[in-house]
């Protein structure tokens, strides 16, 4: 038995298995789809709670052709974009400062380290008082959320920069700016990419959760409006649209932030996910 397994694992003499990666994925999609339809039709849940998928697709088409929807999508998009840019650039700067000076890092980094895994949504009441119920409070929460993973990731990245490179830079008596541009930044690309990826995800969560809590516009507001009038297909369509945009954003970050060196793609994909807590 063990011998057979080992041969299979080595990939020698084993026949090509029927369940290839592609087939398994298609099968999983079919099963999920079928389960959804069966559960919806079974009557176990309240009527209309799990609407048939064609209703959801229909609702999605309806949304995509309505001006109102694109207004809400534009509001949320703008909020997320501003929050993401503000939070990530502030985070990257803070990370550079903490990483570059060992003492400052030792004194101040624990604050970030321990604040990072706290639920940021609890700060929303303060932000509502400070910035009002408009876009300001949403942007602030999104920015705060994306600040921490970026700052911690970059600080850790700076400390891992190869000291030989730093000495080379000093030998050439580079200015501080040149050091950042020519040595730190190229070495920091992986940390930056990870920070951007996590930052995007949680700035979306931050903006949308605060929209859901209290707002008059945006996709979070629009999803809750559909929930209130029990238009579940439209609510799901909004959620699907949000997930689609989030996935698109991740793909874009992957495409534009090229990682140097032959790194293990699989590993890099989610290594940063846990980094925000280490």
């Amino acid at each position: 038995m063990a011998a057979v397994e080992q041969i299979g694992r080595a990939g020698r003499a084993a026949p090509r298995p029927f369940w290839t990666v592609g087939r398994l994925r298609v099968a999983a999609l079919v099963v999920i789809f079928a389960l959804w339809e069966i559960a919806g039709a079974s009557g176990l849940f309240y009527r209309g709670v799990l609407p048939s998928s064609y209703l959801v697709v229909w609702a999605l088409l309806g949304l995509l052709t309505s001006m109102d929807f694109w207004f809400h999508a534009g509001v949320t998009g703008l909020e997320v974009l501003v929050a993401f840019v503000l939070g990530c650039s502030a985070g990257a700067l803070a990370g550079l400062m903490l990483g570059a000076n060992r003492y400052v890092g030792a004194v101040l980094e624990p604050f970030l380290h321990y604040l990072a895994p706290t639920p940021k949504i609890v700060f929303l009441p303060i932000l509502l008082i400070l910035f009002g119920v408009g876009m300001g409070s949403k942007i602030a929460l999104g920015a705060i959320s994306s600040f921490f993973p970026m700052a911690l990731g970059v600080a850790a990245g700076v400390r891992q920069v190869n000291p030989v490179l730093l000495r080379v830079g000093r030998t050439f008596s580079l200015s501080r700016f040149q050091m950042v541009r020519m040595i730190y930044l190229p070495a920091l690309v992986p940390s930056l990419a990870t920070g951007l990826r996590i930052g995007l995800g949680i700035s979306i969560v931050g903006c949308l959760m605060s929209e859901i809590k209290l707002s008059r516009m945006g996709l979070g507001f629009s999803a809750m409006e559909y929930y209130r009038v029990f238009d579940i297909p439209s609510m799901l369509a909004v959620l699907i649209f949000i997930f689609f945009c989030a996935a698109l954003g991740n793909v874009a970050i992957d495409k534009f932030v090229r990682l140097p060196g032959p790194q293990d793609r699989q590993k890099r994909k989610w290594s940063g996910f846990t980094r925000r807590f280490t």
Partner: protein, 260 residues
């Protein structure tokens, strides 16, 4: 910058980091307090720290802080326990069936970076506005790290250990419970730990959003009543609680890693 400059800068006396950290914290609080009394900061928007600390008593006596904490804690713990059972099983399956691992690990990783908490309206319509929704959202939040870390840990078990098990002809269950699980425990625990933190984040977040049970609801209520110092105190309490969790579980993780 010359080396001499660096050396001369280093030669200044600096307090040890811990002391400096406390100093920074005390300084910021003092500054806030002073700014508040000087009228530079609107006391309604940002009440002075003394008022915030003073309102803790009100939280304990009137708002049932302990009950709210126990409730949130129980929900997060329930979510993390359910998530651990499902997640470790799923991680084992992805480890055991290589093809499934290749097919689905990417999906789990994508789930990890997706804004899953936004699914809560769906759970709200399925379970209704009660604890089940909150626990379910906690489970959804903690699953991806637990699955990924469990698979990583099981994949990393040294083949020498597995060969010993095979030599003794262990059954699959014995192999898992006596060899694979103990060997992968530190990695699995770090997944469970991140999962627990994510569960707390989701539980408090959903409590706050649907204004139901626990600390999230308490903060939302205090904010709605414009009980501003109390609201700040509640927020501070949540932050302190999650810091405690983080700290304690970090220590346990280090201990597990050192005893590996």
């Amino acid at each position: 910058m010359s080396d001499a400059a660096i050396v001369s800068r280093r030669s200044f006396w600096r307090p040890p980091p811990l002391l400096a950290r406390l100093g920074v914290l005390a300084g910021l609080l003092a500054l806030w307090e002073a700014a508040s009394y000087a009228g530079l900061v609107n006391a309604f928007i940002a009440p002075p720290p003394s008022a915030i600390f003073a309102s803790f008593e009100m939280l304990f006596v009137q708002e049932g802080l302990i009950n709210a904490f126990v409730r949130t804690f129980a929900e997060a713990l329930a979510a993390a326990s359910i998530g651990s059972v499902i997640g470790i099983s799923a991680g084992y399956a992805l480890h055991r069936y290589k093809m499934a691992g290749l097919a689905y690990t990417d999906w789990v990783a994508a789930m990890a970076s997706a804004p899953l908490v936004l699914l809560y309206p769906l759970f709200l319509v399925i379970f209704g506005r009660n604890s089940a929704t909150i626990v379910a959202m906690g489970v959804v939040g903690c699953l991806p790290p637990i699955i990924l870390k469990a698979k990583e840990g099981l994949d990393g078990v040294r083949s020498v250990l597995l060969n010993v098990g095979r030599a003794y002809g262990l059954s699959r269950w014995a192999m898992f419970s006596m060899i694979q699980f103990p060997a992968a425990l530190p990695t699995i625990f770090s997944g469970v730990r991140i999962g627990l933190l994510f569960a707390i984040i989701n539980v408090v977040g959903v409590e706050y959003l649907i204004v139901f049970g626990g600390l999230g609801q308490m903060i939302s209520d205090l904010g709605d009543r414009f009980e501003i110092p109390g609201m700040y105190a509640g927020i501070l309490f949540v932050v302190l609680v999650s810091i405690c969790f983080f700290f304690i579980t970090e220590k346990i993780e280090k201990w597990l890693l050192s005893s590996k």
